[in-house]
């Protein structure tokens, strides 16, 4: 039976909230309607779900959910709230006779004094709950939430503005968010092995949710580095392959590879299927259609050099053949050249189309320059059979990065891309709303991202010497 549920959200990563809800709903196979007026910038939201179990599933898996309540009422004043609550009597009157209970009054952007909390609780006395008040382990917890506007940065007296909230919500606690504690568990600072490119825990978890990771799925990270996304993806049950052009990033300095040590710390060692050192543009995969998802944070060229095999300056004549035997023991290290970001991104989407199973997802971060970004930047990455599912911004001011989720919406087999590294001539299908002419000449904001970053994102200024990271 469809019911309304009150969601209490974490106030971070607003742009990631709806995509995460949709992904987790899709993972569990239930429909989720997000109303047009749903505001991801607010800490509370009311959603209708067909079954209570769906609300619980969301609470258990979404990193951005703090708690889910059965929704009773809302209002811009307590008068309005109590009127609506009376009308919802059928939902809460079953607990009247002898259910132990507790009332909790919470303020968002405001501290509610104990005195006022008591007043608020008193105002609910018409509910006439006869059971025992149990503050420790009640059978039901009633939650009342006053949402205040943000007044940080202003000076105010204690308890000033009390009662002057934007809206108040009321409901019965169904389930506390079970996934937020994972943020602490995967904290990079406490990890056995990490580097300066390691992705922060909360984002790694959101990325894993975007891949729909679950037991039995095969996921691949082609720029695995120190493995940040592998741990969270494996935590949710998937088996993970990783590759990187730089074996040292996967290995670290100890005898046992760093990624294996960190995976062991998290209890997911056996789910890291294998790690391989290779250049994704010269990859050894025998065939396509292998993976349920590809998850990655490609090198932007800022902290980690984005490179591929080859020479920056082409040598005259053909290469002479196998490398000469070396006088010492050191292994042969092939030359590398820069891998420009917009070429890398387009190649990544085309490679994903080849390597993913039908219905599989590509989840990756695309850095962008705030002043220059347009939706067309993402459209030009797409190719036949690949559709955009989500695009969530993590805003750093002059630049940002967007978590892009793309789904392979075809069961046709496609060959791997040629990795020409000439972005202007890659034959992409125009995205919706883009004219052919625009497609051919559009220069996305993330083109030459590395150079822009070191110029401080100012146009026409002298290149700034990169600060030590």
């Amino acid at each position: 039976m469809p019911r309304e549920y009150l969601f209490v959200f974490a106030q971070a990563h607003d742009d990631f909230r709806v995509p995460e809800l949709r992904s987790v709903a899709e993972l569990h196979g239930f429909p989720l309607a997000i109303p047009d007026d749903f505001d991801p910038s607010r800490p509370f939201g009311v959603l209708t779900l067909k079954q209570e179990e769906h609300a619980r599933l969301l609470a258990r898996r979404c990193i951005l959910i703090k708690a889910v309540y059965e929704f009773y009422a809302r209002g811009v004043t307590y008068e309005a709230l109590h009127t609506q609550n009376e009308a919802a009597r059928a939902r809460w009157e079953g607990y009247i006779p002898d259910t132990s209970f507790k009332f909790a009054v919470n303020g968002y952007n405001h501290s509610i004094s104990k005195a006022r909390q008591r007043e608020v609780i008193e105002s609910f006395s018409y509910m006439d709950y006869r059971g025992k008040i149990d503050l420790v382990n009640p059978e039901v917890i009633m939650g009342c939430f006053e949402e205040y506007r943000d007044v940080s940065g202003t000076t105010r007296r204690k308890n000033e503005g009390a009662g002057d909230f934007r809206e108040v919500f009321f409901g019965r606690l169904l389930e506390e968010g079970g996934a937020r504690s994972l943020i602490k568990k995967f904290d990079v600072k406490k990890r056995e092995y990490f580097g300066n490119t390691s992705m922060e825990a909360e984002i790694s978890l959101l990325m894993a949710n975007q891949t729909l990771a679950s037991p039995g799925k095969l996921v691949y990270d082609p720029f695995i580095g120190t493995g940040s996304m592998a741990y969270t993806t494996a935590h949710f049950g998937a088996l993970v392959f990783g590759s990187d052009i730089d074996g040292r990033q996967m290995r670290g300095k100890e005898h046992q590879p760093g990624i294996v040590r960190a995976a062991t710390q998290y209890g997911v060692r056996q789910r890291i299927l294998d790690l391989c050192t290779f250049d994704v543009t010269q990859n050894p995969w025998r065939c396509g259609g292998l993976f349920d998802a590809i998850i990655t944070d490609p090198p932007y060229g800022v902290r980690a050099g984005a490179k591929r095999l080859g020479r920056k300056k082409e040598r005259t004549g053909t290469p002479s053949g196998p490398p000469q035997p070396r006088p010492d023991d050191r292994p042969y290290v092939p030359p590398t050249r820069p891998y420009e970001l917009s070429a890398l991104a387009t190649d990544l989407v085309a490679l994903a189309r080849h390597l993913l199973k039908p219905g599989g997802r590509l989840v990756f971060f695309l850095p962008t320059v705030t002043d220059e970004y347009s939706a067309l930047d993402v459209d030009v990455l797409l190719c036949d059979g690949m559709v955009l599912v989500a695009n969530s911004l993590q805003d750093f001011g002059a630049w940002g990065r967007r978590l892009i989720t793309i789904r392979k919406d075809t069961d046709r087999e496609y060959p791997p891309p040629k990795f020409d590294a000439r972005p202007a001539v890659l034959g992409v299908v125009p995205g919706p709303g883009a004219s052919e002419a625009q497609e051919a000449t559009h220069v996305p904001a993330h083109r030459d991202f590395r150079e822009k970053y070191f110029q401080g994102f100012k146009k026409g200024s002298d290149p700034v010497k990169p600060e030590a990271e």
Partner: protein
């Protein structure tokens, strides 16, 4: 690592190496055996992607004869358990994989193979 499931998916992609580049021949191997979670649904789903003769050859190359030469019609539990063991529980920790065509040697060290190509081998 390197597990045989991975080995079954790797071919030599050196320039010009387009035939007889799979499977890579395993030599000088040092093995480790580690338990892995048994997931029959995963195995059934993955089976269509496996190159069966290459898998059996690789397993025998490193001393495991538990898999039949022909992929059986019946995917019963006993078969799936044997398949599970060979695909996921045998790790080639040291050794090399060599392309039967161009003879490029991909060394495996600490369970991670180096599959970088040399300058003359890239397009």
């Amino acid at each position: 690592m390197v597990r045989l499931i991975t080995h079954n998916l790797l071919a030599c992609h050196a320039k010009g190496c387009t035939a007889n580049n799979f499977p890579l021949q395993l030599t000088d191997v040092k093995l480790a055996l580690r338990d892995a979670e048994f997931n029959p649904d995963f195995l059934r789903g993955f089976l269509p992607r496996i190159e069966w003769p290459a898998l059996v050859q690789a397993a025998r190359q490193i001393g495991d004869e538990s898999l039949p030469l022909e992929q059986p019609e019946m995917l019963d539990d006993e078969f799936l358990k044997a398949l599970h063991h060979v695909l996921l529980e045998i790790h080639v920790e040291e050794g090399a994989m060599t392309c039967p065509n161009c003879k490029h040697v991909y060394p495996i060290s600490n369970g991670i193979p180096n599959m970088l190509l040399a300058e003359h081998e890239i397009g």
